[in-house]
Symmetry: C2
Subunit: 495 residues, 2 copies
């Protein structure tokens, strides 16, 4: 049986949930569901996603209470996160109805510069059962009811979720709510499944019927799963959202203009959710001199006065402590605010280093409420120091109106998936244009895990050459279909 720990009290109890013994049987049902799902139109799936959203909302209070007991993230944050998860399901429903995610294209037969050519019709189709690994830090939005589940289902694929060991009860309750709603909607058995235990996750990734993996978690866990993929007869994509330091640069003029406001904003961002955000600004470039000193002072004062926050689990708490020590001993950072870690709790830590002394040993990600302030004299020092900063999900510039930030933007753009200006990277809007992904080790894909285009990860193109109308999907038949299509190279909107 899996245990569950309340990080606020430190109490560990039996969850009553058994490790999944027969993962193959679960994937077997998912494979059958894949065939059955193909018979349903995409509007049926849109309605399914809406039903899943409503189910989450109906069970919100119970889900939040359970999650709070397993994560200590607090009722307000967790209530918002359930809302965010429901919103995600509904946004994908909207995208399904709109239909341009299919990338439908028709090239009619005819004479071309290369002679007569056959008719080609193309659109994206689902790939098959998808394995989704829930994260510890977002028990809803990046877990059982999260974006990977929503986008894989939206694409038309069954989903098998590996529950995160840090919140088994929340995982099961989320799954129960979703699967009851799916059954009530008439979804085939196996459309959504769940497995428990570390070995079940490994079995899942190794199963030849699994066609892609969505993962949010640590770099080391990801690498272990990727090595299983390397051993498969058939390689599959691994969409991992992993480690991220999220560099942030305060310009000289911004510090002069609004030092305390910046200190307040940065403090709020690096301590949000006890610093357990993949988008936490873990490294902040602050100019030397008085204005920069004022930013640092504001950060230090707020951090010293802060109350202890509960970390998600024992592994994160002990790892946070270890990495903080390494940043000081090996990374040569000096301590501005030491912070206190005790049991599952921590108070914020502020470390400081000169840009000229920054090394890779100082840029290890500390998952928790810690920021490394790097003092710089002139942006050239920032550009040089960035060589020691691993690529990230985000990069942030806090600037003043008169600043020319063209060169700084150009330096940061290749290192991140989202550039933030005069704002903070924590908080990822769920929308059509969002990009939550970045160069390795932030993620290892050319895709996003948040926002509508996340659906593209779980689709593959299929072309029909000279097909009789009867075997074409409705979206590719000759008449109007109500979706955007590219016809003979010209993008056309529905009338």
């Amino acid at each position: 049986m899996l245990t569950t720990t309340n990080p606020t009290t430190g109490e560990t109890t039996d969850s009553g949930i058994a490790v999944t013994a027969d993962v193959a049987a679960v994937v077997d049902r998912a494979q059958h569901a894949f065939t059955a799902l193909a018979a349903e139109p995409r509007t049926w799936r849109a309605d399914l996603l809406d039903a899943l959203a409503s189910a989450l909302e109906e069970h919100r209070d119970d889900l939040v209470a359970l999650a709070n007991s397993e994560t200590g993230l607090g009722v307000a944050r967790l209530t918002g996160e359930v809302g965010r998860s429901a919103f995600q399901f509904r946004l994908f429903a909207e995208a399904l109805r709109e239909g341009s995610y299919l990338e439908a294209a028709i090239d009619h037969a005819g004479e071309t510069a290369l002679g007569p050519q056959p008719e080609i019709r193309r659109m994206l189709v689902p790939i098959g059962p998808v394995a989704v690994f829930g994260s510890s830090n977002f028990p809803f939005a990046f877990s059982v009811a999260g974006g990977d589940t929503a986008s894989a289902l939206a694409a038309g694929n069954p989903v098998v979720i590996k529950a995160h060991g840090s919140h088994p009860l929340t995982s099961r309750a989320s799954f129960d709510a979703l699967s009851a709603a799916a059954a009530a909607h008439g979804a085939p058995e196996g459309t959504i499944s769940i497995v428990y235990g570390t070995q079940s996750g490994r079995d899942l990734v190794a199963d030849p019927r699994i066609k892609a993996v969505g993962f949010t978690g640590s770099l080391s866990a990801a690498q272990s799963l990727m090595s299983i993929i390397d051993e498969r007869d058939t390689p599959i994509p691994f969409y991992g959202e992993l480690s991220s330091l999220n560099p942030l640069v305060v310009t000289e003029a911004a510090a002069e203009e609004r030092a305390d406001e910046l200190a307040a904003g940065l403090f709020g961002s690096f301590t949000l959710g006890a610093g357990q955000f993949c988008t936490k600004p873990g490294i902040a470039f602050v100019p030397t001199g008085e204005a920069g000193d004022a930013v640092l002072d504001g950060l230090v004062t707020r951090s010293r006065d802060a109350q202890a926050q509960v970390l998600l689990n024992n592994r994160i708490a002990s790892s946070f402590d270890e990495i903080r020590s390494r940043l000081i001993t090996q990374g040569r950072a000096t301590v501005a605010v030491e912070g206190v870690a005790h049991g599952f709790t921590a108070t914020p830590s502020v470390l400081v280093i000169d840009a000229a002394h920054l090394t890779a040993s100082a840029t290890e990600e500390a998952f928790g409420p810690l920021v490394l302030v790097v003092r710089y004299s002139g942006l050239d020092e920032v550009y040089s120091a960035l060589a020691c900063v691993p690529d990230s999900l985000t990069a942030t510039i806090l600037h003043a109106p008169a600043d020319d930030i063209t060169a700084l933007t150009r330096e940061l753009a290749p290192r991140a998936g989202r550039l933030v200006f005069n704002g903070y990277p924590t908080g990822v809007r769920v929308s059509w244009g969002q990009q939550h992904g970045g160069p390795w080790p932030a993620t290892n894909s050319l895709h996003t895990s948040v926002g509508v285009t996340a659906i593209r990860r779980f689709l593959r193109p299929l072309a029909w050459q000279n097909a009789p109308e009867a075997v074409l999907p409705p979206e590719l038949r000759e008449g109007a279909t109500g979706i955007p299509r590219r016809v003979d190279g010209v993008l056309t909107l529905p009338a």
Copy 2:
């Protein structure tokens, strides 16, 4: 020095081309070019691609003569292939001018169901230097001047091409033509580069500055490169177009209706280019009984009467012979037409087996003029036998008007990237909607290597949150930009 062999005469000579010693220096120039290319608008790149197309056409006769001496593919076919390559460059130029490949999206700031949200603008940006491995069987369209080069350049990436050892002189001449045109257009040094020799290809894939690999070739060569990627600190996508058996099914009614026409079509397709097409129908399901016998007879007669064809190189010729023997001894196929392989030449082979006896040993891909005819009684035998057929680039159905091919289409769809009806899979139209890719081992990606959407492989999304207009790319600024964009979820076309 690399050698070059004329497969028609068997003569091997010194090419005068040295193995590339310093791959790192080549990639270094590519990395510098990447930065410089970022300063150019996409219309500049469109003009560059047009210039590359014209350069190929200008040098067509010389290129064809060289390629014919190194491949034996014949002047007519090679002339067409140069035209195809030029067409590809121009099609990507057209796609750049049209601009929807950028997937530009703008979500304005404002109140949402989840509270106030920041502005997000997103589009696709180039990933960095791309390694392209030329194939042996298409010395232009899938080699130095091929689709991977065109799509990677179109996306805004420098390209480093690994020349195929089977046609070094054609590779160098193609490269010289392209790079002179690029220089004349003002492209930075390192925009297009070439390296020679097997080790240089391995060095290229291992280089940390290379951000993706485009490859067309054998499964074994691909696996060797993929294991280099597994060893990299930073994983990169490997877009391989590998092995493909391309199953083809003749229905009972089609055989009854037009047996000899089908035999003629299938014969033409499996012997096209001496059977050295990745889309060659290598396995053909033909019904038992008189009508099916007539198809087989027509195939046998034509194959017996056929003249010997020149294979590309010694390795392909000897491997073809070995695999043909294995299909008989281990696969238990019977010989209808034995074919004669001699030196670099081969005449067509037709092997036959009952569907009930088909095993994986009989479905090894024989690269060359060979087809395995599988006799079946009823489509259920086809469905069962398909379990022994590896997934492919294409699947083909030759049917009669009255046939209900819904179930057959449904069985074939998950096994291929392109479904062909009453046509033949050889011949891949270059167009907006084309899909040239399929489940592993056909390719290992969710993308195409032919057609406009091939560009997506070499792009990554980047989002700008609350960015000042000055740092935004022109395509994402607030005013009209002449390209399709998704604004607040609504796809909008330029006025």
